[in-house]
Subunit: 415 residues, 2 copies
């Protein structure tokens, strides 16, 4: 954790007045050229307004709305649990401050029972979902598998010939989906020379250093990724896998990824707002982390998963076999060596995290605290946006995962 | 007119396949860094996807939709008229190709009687409206005048002290609204050293030349504009006036312009889609030309004007006195010296064009063929998006203005 003297209240972006003023004074400006949109505490503002800093495309909603019933209850804020790291006791309300939650929503049996927006967030304001994006892309891939249009055993070289000579070439689609590829690509968010740092430059997400002569878009970047070891042995979280997966989905559909996402998920699920999707200069959406939906639309996706793809009105929005392929979760043996201390017994499959425990809970997870969390036993879905100072979720899992579990248990016992 | 061998059909952006492919091949790429988004024929694609090239903010729709009835009729395509320049006879359908119309809609007595989308346009896809944006901003200013919150006689120096020493300082708000200011600012779209070219660089709409050390946003640019003559004498179309007007509106409301536009027009008018608004690095929307709405929402604005601000359901969405101040039009004497050959007897008031003739028709007009056209006598509103190779509307007025008039006359005689 970097030096950080600001807590959630003192770093509230509205209090800090980011970009307020005509013009905003220099000390309140956030500039893409300084990567200010990605730095705490400025990012607490920028994560709700990424389209103001970067080119985006629109993931269009459809004509029909999935109307979520609202049945708010006031007993959740007091639900208590023990933090995983130091065992201190926290309530649900306290945890939200402790882990810099921007907005959070709980669905129970399909109804909104809890909903909070803080700082720059609003019900109709998109927020970057970071790697929650991956779970949308993974689900799209499973839909194509369920339709027989993609073979999980196919090598990437067959699906994307441009990647034949790269480290991805002899990996199977299933290995890419489950991130069991072995690649020379580091996911170290604090190191600008890491794989994720280089990819961020290639995609234009962060300003390029002077004289930059590296890849100009994701299609130039991915072929540069080399193999490092044997595919299939173990899970290692690397965002570049999802860029490959997005490429495969778009090529299979013959349509750019944002349009596939609109047609196959945003419209059928009756999302209430368009989503923004960060794109590179080629127009390719950032499949591994560029989606900006509103909170309720994140919740709708989780609820559609929980319902096996069939919405309350009876329409089959997501192929049941696609969800059926995801839900057993992945290999625990492949996951264990990755050393996620706060996810014992976990696994990863098709871009979804299975968090262990006896509820079969699974989650879409993005840096700085973005999450969709589905607890099938508690019939509960949580959607959350965050702007934690630290990117890695290991910094906030200790006050998040047990909180979700405690709320789930509370809903079961106080149904 | 520059060398141009492509007509509307052969320059169709879908036919040309701009940005298609994973990745798009070099010959199909459009790059902001090359200003490709502003050059024919690439702009025929880019004008429907400006947010993919530039930072934008969201002008949010509200919860209630103004449902436009649809009563399509098939007799308009054959309506004939004579072009103003060479007198040749054209039909309504032929005119749309002749002047590179992307999408066009006709409302008659509040119902959609004609609606066409070509090329990259769709009913739910925003398109840049260019200077049609000005009429939204001018109407917002008139709303504040009607509420007694702005005095049209106030000098700009009193409203925006930062501009006291600029050429705007001793101009009145009314002179800014009606563009009768006298300024050293050329609106020559084909000259990169013109005032509009320099402003475009400052706002980041086009790539800056190497070593650029000029203004970094609109707030740095506007104070550099010098006076040239005496304010109030005659109309001269200069976009920088609208940037000042947007600043005044935002400062008066204490809220950024996009949020004012959402709260005061987008939500009350029941717009069906969010609009995109191009912004500079300060977050200030490009008041003179940066709005990207969908076509039907442009039509709604025209229809609200025609109805005096009261929507069919009875709600007073726009202050009647604001529209009352606009509708007499401006001074013909001030307008005539500007030499708009195709608009004899015209005038300009509050960022709206009054096109002359006996119907009292008025229009919001943007380069390359963007328009809202209101004919009160024919109870008709036309909304149009275009991507004409030439920016100046003088290139397309000869096949547009008489076409609007012919359709109006047809609707009157064939009710």
């Amino acid at each position: 954790m970097p030096d950080q003297i600001l807590d959630a209240d003192s770093s509230d972006p509205v209090l800090m007045g980011w970009m307020e003023g005509l013009p905003p004074p220099p000390e309140r400006r956030i500039r893409w050229a300084d990567a200010g949109h990605m730095r705490f505490p400025m990012h607490r503002h920028a994560y709700s307004r990424m389209r103001e800093f970067l080119p985006t495309t629109r993931v269009g909603r459809g004509a029909t709305l999935w109307d979520l019933p609202v049945a708010l209850r006031d007993d959740l804020d007091a639900v208590a649990f023990q933090a995983l790291d130091d065992g201190r006791s926290l309530t649900w309300a306290e945890a939200q401050k402790a882990n810099f939650t921007d907005a959070i929503l709980v669905l129970h049996r399909g109804a909104i029972v809890y909903e909070r927006y803080r700082g720059a967030t609003r019900p109709d304001t998109p927020h970057i979902a970071f790697s929650v994006t991956k779970s949308f892309v993974g689900t799209l891939a499973e839909m194509l598998v369920a339709e027989g249009r993609l073979d999980p055993a196919a090598p990437v070289a067959d699906l994307i010939p441009e990647l034949a000579a790269s480290g991805f070439g002899d990996a199977t689609l299933r290995q890419v989906m489950d991130m069991t590829t072995a690649l020379d690509f580091s996911e170290e968010y604090t190191d600008p020379t890491s794989g994720i740092g280089a990819m961020s430059n290639a995609l234009g997400l962060t300003p390029r250093p002077p004289g930059y002569a590296g890849p100009d878009d994701v299609f130039e970047f991915l072929p540069t990724v080399r193999k490092n070891g044997e595919h299939g042995a173990r899970f290692t979280y690397r965002t570049c896998n999802t860029e490959v997966l997005g490429w495969i989905v778009a090529r299979t559909e013959g349509e750019q990824l944002d349009r596939v996402l609109s047609r196959r998920i945003w419209q059928p699920l009756g999302m209430e707002q368009d989503a923004d999707f960060l794109i590179d200069t080629s127009g390719m959406p950032f499949a591994g982390g560029g989606l900006n939906p509103v909170l309720r639309d994140m919740a709708r996706f989780g609820e559609a998963m929980r319902l096996g793809g069939t919405l309350p009105g009876g329409s089959q929005a997501i192929h049941a076999a696609a969800i059926g392929s995801i839900l057993p979760g992945g290999s625990r043996e492949a996951f264990a060596p990755a050393g996620y201390r706060w996810i014992p017994g976990g696994s990863y499959r098709s871009q979804w995290w299975f968090v262990g425990g006896n509820h079969g809970a699974y989650s879409a997870r993005g840096i700085h605290g973005q999450a969709i969390y589905v607890d099938p036993v508690a019939e509960m879905v949580i959607a959350r946006f965050g702007s934690h100072p630290v990117a890695a979720n290991s910094a906030l899992d200790p006050t998040s995962l047990p909180a979700y579990k405690a709320v789930a248990d509370h809903l079961i016992s106080h149904g």
